[in-house]
Assembly symmetry: C2
Homo-oligomer: 248 residues x 2
């Protein structure tokens, strides 16, 4: 299982992903789910992936091979728009589907993969896309502040409550980490280290890309502070009168 | 979709369920998912159900018909233990499975149902069981404080953080309502009115059974207070130094 979240804010983008991959509870490994493609000063594109690792790794490989073979047409470093970048990623997914889907089905394995593609190319505003296994995709609009892929439900309520387009990048990072914390607590198959990528609007490069592991003091503190704050907030909720009457 | 949560605490049990049933977004109805069987002073058994409504209603009907036909063997009002009660509910599920599963499969409908059975029979401690579609079940042990069925993920993090066996019934009720709030916000197919049932240890009857609808002031206030408290707690989380440096 994987959990990835990406936010499109007024001042830039925040990407956070875990790195745990499991094929059953006794086969847990660490694989990065985030890949950065950039030509600093001109473009930055971040790719996150969830689902069958063989599929998503193949997608990333195809997109990377494309960079080295200019004859093959546009690549993530030459395409004219983020929309075009999302199409290229979708095409890569479809290429794997054509190659693998039938065999996977014979083995009872679902063709399960989803991607997030976001960033900014000079001449455009920052954009964010979410791709389905079929290679089709949706784009974040003015009403959409984030996309999630993988194990998305545990970490969704806090995003809905806190994040707006006008949230700062710092708020975005904090909220993504809290959302990830809720997910890690509830699903053993989502785990550290985390990959955090921050892209500032009109920066055309990664402002910060850090790996967050168990020795990251800030994340460690954030987790316990948040737990404490939640419990305290909970303790301060009022009790209903009808309950006091019923329970004496 | 449905969301039901039941807690087994030192001082009793708390059951909360929504009442929305959907067969597609244009066919939304209200059906209670909670049924109480009690012989006050001697036993109280609460049944919650999630999944295909035709299946779970049939289970409830079978269990209720059983009460009226003493020749048919033990019923929920005569069985010797809660374990026996869970078995009776499991048997009812299997009876529907024998009757309906093949036909449902022909129509491409999964045999999808899960139940929670909990309460107390004189001579036993309070007990809580969670039943799967196959009619098999697990029981809450000293380490288990709650079971969820239906749309369980959105509302799980707060339960994990707050509820212990030693939590009071009031804390249980508050936490169940907060957990339900997170679920309702994230899944349109979970909605009011809610069914809340409180059973006190050694009370052998329902201490309180209330329906919570949009006009319930307490739940309304709880929802906005909780949102506010979460946002405030979030705003007070510290910012990491490395982030301040990165974002200037």
């Amino acid at each position: 299982m994987t959990y990835c979240v990406a936010m499109l804010l007024d001042t830039g983008l925040v990407f956070l992903s875990d790195s745990r991959t499991s094929a059953g509870v006794d086969q847990i490994s660490t694989f990065r789910k985030t890949t950065v493609f950039q030509n600093p000063g001109e473009r930055v594109i971040v790719l996150q992936s969830a689902g069958n690792l063989a599929i998503t790794q193949a997608v990333t490989s195809i997109l990377q091979e494309r960079l080295a073979s200019p004859d093959a047409g546009a690549s993530l470093l030459t395409c004219a728009s983020l929309f075009e970048a999302a199409r290229l990623a979708g095409d890569a997914l479809r290429e794997i589907h054509r190659r693998d889907a039938t065999v996977l089905k014979e083995f009872g394995v679902e063709f399960n993969a989803s991607l997030i593609v976001g960033g900014q190319i000079r001449g455009e505003a920052p954009r964010l896309f979410c791709l389905y296994a079929a290679g089709n995709f949706i784009e974040a609009t003015a009403d959409t502040t984030y996309f999630q892929i993988g194990e998305s439900k545990y970490g969704k309520p806090i995003l809905d409550r806190v994040i707006r387009r006008s949230s700062s990048l710092t708020e975005g990072v904090k909220c993504a980490l809290v959302s990830m914390d809720s997910t890690i607590r509830s699903n053993l198959a989502v785990g550290l280290p985390l990959d955090l990528v921050i892209v500032r609007r009109d920066g055309y490069s990664v402002a910060r890309h850090i790996g967050i592991d168990t020795d990251n003091e800030y994340f460690h503190d954030l987790r316990s502070l948040w737990s404490e704050a939640l419990r305290e907030a909970f303790a301060h909720l009022p009790e209903p009168d009808w309950l006091r009457q019923a329970l004496g």
